[in-house]
């Protein structure tokens, strides 16, 4: 005998503990099972892309901090590289190495926060999050040392950096880099073999290889789905071709794999930083660039491998001090488009896990 049941609508967000900001999901539920999902966003829309058209190139660097505020350095880098390509500026080698160190540190920091919040969504009450933040805090301290900021760094400039690293930076960095593998092993031990964690994430929210490619997903979300694609390897920018590192790729594309890829990427980032410290040359950190930059008319697109995926900037210049068009390729937003397809059929509890495993930052989704 079949009961007569009705679907009902559950509105999650925009103010909800696990929407990582102001994201809203409208579920249609059959009991606890999700029948349909309508993601609604834009609550944090600030019109950054339009605002940027009315400011000079340099004034726009702080905007890139405010896209993915957990990974400001890589946004900085992508934007600066786009402008450098547009204006034909070459960056001194020392600055390139420091940029690599910064963006790899940023990748670790972002993944730490991502994994921490993912486990928070799983219901592990704050403990993993605070353990992750213990290390993230040390990285943030290093950023504070170089640019005086802990969240929105605004550290990179066209043709280099705003300032050279202080002398006490490298010893502090070495200390951290020596300690980090131990901590990553600790997380691996504590999390990756936890039964409850495994039953909640293995096989949950599978993003198939085809869907991952066709939806243009990037970063750990793509590499969790058995696609070996990392711009640092496939199209090496900056000085990435001088380092030895592996691209972790997982097979099934479930929530666990996305977590696992993040964890392994942190190890690889540590490897890159170690090599970068070894090779770090002396010299200038800032090329000669005019204060009021007027790139020649034309356009440029540069994308780099951010922690959350491929972050790209498309700039069109009309030869004036302001960009004619300023457009971001936001990895979080594009990864988020896969959400509806992988969430349907799972329960409300899984929805938070899958959503957390995509690891978005609303500042970048809504821009």
């Amino acid at each position: 005998m079949a009961f007569k049941t009705e679907h009902f609508m559950l509105n999650v967000g925009p103010q909800h503990p696990s929407t990582h900001g102001v994201f809203r999901m409208r579920f249609t539920l059959d009991g606890e099972v999700i029948v349909d999902l309508e993601p609604i966003f834009g609550y944090l829309h600030r019109g950054i892309e339009k605002l940027a058209e009315d400011r000079t190139y340099t004034q726009n660097i702080p905007f890139t901090d405010r896209l993915d505020y957990l990974a400001s350095m890589t946004s900085n880098q992508a934007y600066c590289m786009a402008v450098e390509k547009l204006a034909g500026i070459t960056v001194p080698e020392r600055a390139e190495y420091i940029r690599v160190i910064m963006s790899e540190l940023q990748r670790i920091a972002s993944h730490l926060a991502g994994i921490g919040f993912f486990l928070q969504d799983l219901g592990a009450f704050m403990t993993p999050l605070l353990y992750m933040f213990r290390e993230r805090e040390k990285i943030v301290d290093l950023f504070d040392m170089v640019c005086g900021q802990r969240l929105n760094y605004n550290y990179l400039r066209f043709g280099g950096l705003s300032q050279d690293i202080p002398p006490e930076f490298i010893p502090a960095l070495k200390k951290l880099v020596n300690a980090l593998p131990g901590f990553i092993d600790e997380y691996d031990r504590l999390i990756s073999e936890n039964e409850v964690f495994l039953v909640r994430t293995k096989g949950v929210g599978i993003l198939s290889r085809e869907m991952a490619i066709s939806s243009a997903a990037a970063g750990p979300v793509l590499r969790g789905s058995d696609v070996n694609w990392d711009i640092r390897k496939s199209n090496p920018y900056s000085v990435y071709d001088r380092f030895e590192f592996d691209i972790p790729v997982a097979k099934t594309g479930d929530s666990f794999d996305r977590y696992w890829v993040r964890l392994q990427e942190m190890r690889q980032s540590v490897r890159i930083i170690e090599q970068a410290i070894e090779q770090l040359p002396e010299g200038d950190v800032q090329a000669k660039v005019s204060r009021l930059l007027k790139p020649p008319a034309g356009d440029a697109y540069v994308s780099i491998e951010g922690p959350k995926g491929e972050i790209g900037f498309y700039l069109v210049s009309d030869g004036s001090v302001k960009p004619y068009r300023w457009r971001v390729r936001p990895p979080c937003f594009i990864n988020l488009t896969t959400l509806r397809d992988i969430i349907i059929g799972w329960k409300v509890a899984d929805a938070m896990v899958i959503f957390g495993s995509i690891d978005i930052v609303l500042g970048e989704v809504d821009r």
Partner: protein, 374 residues
């Protein structure tokens, strides 16, 4: 000493009182009711403080340390805050159900303590069916929780309430069965007698499997991690008490902690030897064990993520229930076949059996999947 039910025969009850307790029946009741309510309130306040401090330590942070020495006044500050808060009743809520729910939930949570012995004979009512009374009364909390979920007319609350019903009724069964082993060995239903039976060996060593099942099922009963999906904060905001504020919320908070306290007290009484212990006075042993169990519960909370509702149900029916049934059968056979066995010998046999069974079941038992085609 076996007691008649309260009120059925007041005179004989008063005669049977220990000589050092206040004489008359009503004085006894009055004294104990006041004492228990004070005890529960104070311990709950201490528990909230301890939970936050201990959880803080687990999470490499200090925890509340501003109000008073070691933050000891923090619970009091919280109580004042909750007292002063506005009491909001949603427009569409069923006013009476919404209003009654915390009270309905609180009463059984407090009633449980009527039969728990603090030391030999020191309890409100030494019922000869004490453990049955506890099981019957404690499962009534569900009614209050469901009333809260239903009466709030909020979808999060309703989902939380639905989960409550499913989870708490399912875990009731392994919970009861895990206790049966203790009842078989001690041969009594009175909690005081059970504690006395643990003179030499605490039942945790005689019934290891029973203890594991009990503590797991009890965590689910009181909705503690990893079974806290009733109020899963990352999914359902606050579950059934989403729409409660002020003192009503405080009452639910009290219920939650009183239930946890009850679980700790029952675990202490049934498995950890209750008030038995050397050197210190018995009641102090009771409280020490109480806090030890509670700290274990917080430790679990600080460690594990949450299970999903179908996994929680599967765990109760497919893992805990068979184990509990096997445990009852094995204990029964042991007691029948070897009636005057030393408890320690039984304990060693049971420990081996428990280890084998748990390992075997964990190999056979698989949770997974969970996707429903739509």
């Amino acid at each position: 000493m076996t007691m008649p039910l309260i009120g059925s025969d007041a005179l004989s009850y008063a005669e049977a009182l220990p000589p050092d307790w206040p004489g008359s029946f009503w004085a006894h009741i009055f004294f104990w009711v006041i004492l228990l309510i004070l005890f529960i309130t104070v311990i709950v306040l201490l528990f909230t403080w301890l939970e936050r401090r201990w959880l803080g330590r687990l999470q490499i942070r200090p925890g509340p340390n501003r109000a008073g020495p070691f933050g000891l006044l923090q619970p009091i500050a919280d109580v004042f805050k909750l007292l002063l808060k506005e009491d909001i009743v949603p427009d569409k809520a069923d006013k009476w159900v919404h209003w009654l729910a915390p009270v309905v939930a609180l009463a059984p949570a407090l009633l449980v303590f009527a039969v728990i012995p603090f030391q030999d004979g020191a309890l409100l009512a030494d019922l000869n069916i004490g453990i049955l009374f506890i099981l019957a009364v404690s499962s009534m909390v569900v009614i209050g929780v469901f009333m809260a979920g239903w009466g709030s007319s909020n979808k999060y609350s309703l989902l939380g309430a639905m989960r409550t019903i499913a989870q708490e009724i399912s875990y009731e069964i392994p919970l009861v069965l895990s206790i049966v082993g203790v009842i078989i060995i001690s041969g009594t239903l009175s909690l005081n007698e059970m504690v006395k039976a643990q003179q030499d060996v605490a039942f945790i060593f005689v019934q290891p499997l029973g203890f594991i099942i009990y503590i797991t099922a009890a965590l689910a009963e009181v909705a503690r991690t990893p079974f806290d999906l009733i109020e899963a904060d990352s999914e359902l905001v606050a579950g059934f008490h989403t729409e409660y504020s002020g003192m009503k919320f405080a009452l639910f908070f009290l219920v939650e902690y009183a239930e946890t306290l009850a679980v700790a007290a029952i675990a202490t009484t049934l498995f950890l030897g209750g008030w038995q212990g050397p050197f210190l006075p018995p009641w102090m042993w009771f409280i020490i064990k109480l806090f030890a169990v509670f700290m274990f519960i917080i430790w679990v909370r600080g460690t594990l993520p949450r299970l999903r509702i179908d996994q929680v149900m599967g765990f109760a029916w497919k893992f805990l229930l068979p184990l509990a049934l096997i445990n009852v059968v094995i204990t029964g056979v042991e007691v029948l076949a070897w009636p005057d066995a030393p408890l320690l010998a039984l304990g060693i046999i049971n420990l081996v059996v428990a280890a084998v069974l748990v390992l075997l079941m964990s190999k056979l038992f698989k949770l997974g999947g969970g996707r429903v085609p739509v």
